[in-house]
Amino acid sequence: MRALDVVWVGLGGGIGSLLRWWAGHVTGQHYHPSRFPLGTFIVNITGAFLIGYLSELFLVDWRDRYGTPLQAGVLTGFLGGYTTFSSMELDAAKLSNAGRTGYAWFYLIFSVVVGLAAAWLGVALARLQH
């Protein structure tokens, strides 16, 4: 890893985080525990789709996460900043605190399963373009 990789990761992470904040903002600033955490879900699923699509399109191994602007800036930086694991877990804790622990676990597992499917769809789409 070079110093330039750190710059790319930082730049991508900043832009991705802004986009995530904006997505949360437009899907509803006020999150209600009784509803589905839509903002986090949307960024995570679209981010999973993009990482699958871009990794396959540019033939980047999932273990290689820096070295080029695409790997450091987009895959590690932008998509890492855009998607979030911590907010997903906090959403689940909020649902659990609202007395909906079963729904909280459904939300976590549903996010992961749909995320896997979205990443797979991204890979499949990129393969069609090869």
Binding site: G12, P33, E89, A119
Partner: protein
């Protein structure tokens, strides 16, 4: 508005760079993305902690935006967490498939425990006041 944009951008950049440094310092295990798991669980713990302190008015809204929305969001990642296991599932090898399933389950369970511990440490297990459910009687 500009204030929030700067805080989220700077925080997100810091978080993503921290994750990259973690990826270099966490021991490599062949075929098991331990670095991402560590970054995610640490971020979940810290987000719980920051959220609880914010709810108790110990941290300001700006600090919460910088640290909670920015740094913890940038440090944790969902896309990398699912992409590695997706590739493993696609190999069709029994060992890879089980590694992927165990990795994903370990991530969400440890992350959940971490956020709960963070909330408790910050002195709050009710980060959100209850919202009244819609009434069914039409009133």
């Amino acid at each position: 508005m500009l204030n929030i944009i700067i805080l989220v951008f700077v925080g997100g950049a810091m978080g993503a760079m921290l994750r990259e440094f973690l990826m270099l310092s966490v021991p490599k295990i062949e075929g098991f993305p331990l670095d991402i798991l560590v970054a995610n669980v640490v971020a979940a713990f810290l987000l719980g902690w920051v959220t609880a302190l914010y709810k108790r008015n110990i941290l300001s809204g700006d600090v919460n935006t910088l640290a909670g929305t920015g740094i913890m969001g940038g440090l944790s990642t969902f896309s990398s967490m699912v992409y590695g296991p997706m590739v493993m599932l696609g190999t069709g090898q029994t060992r890879d498939i089980w590694t992927a399933i165990i990795y994903l389950l370990a991530s969400i369970i440890l992350g959940y425990i971490a956020v709960i511990i963070g909330l408790k440490l910050g002195g709050s297990d009710m980060p959100q006041p209850p919202v009244p459910m819609p009434r069914r009687d039409g009133a």
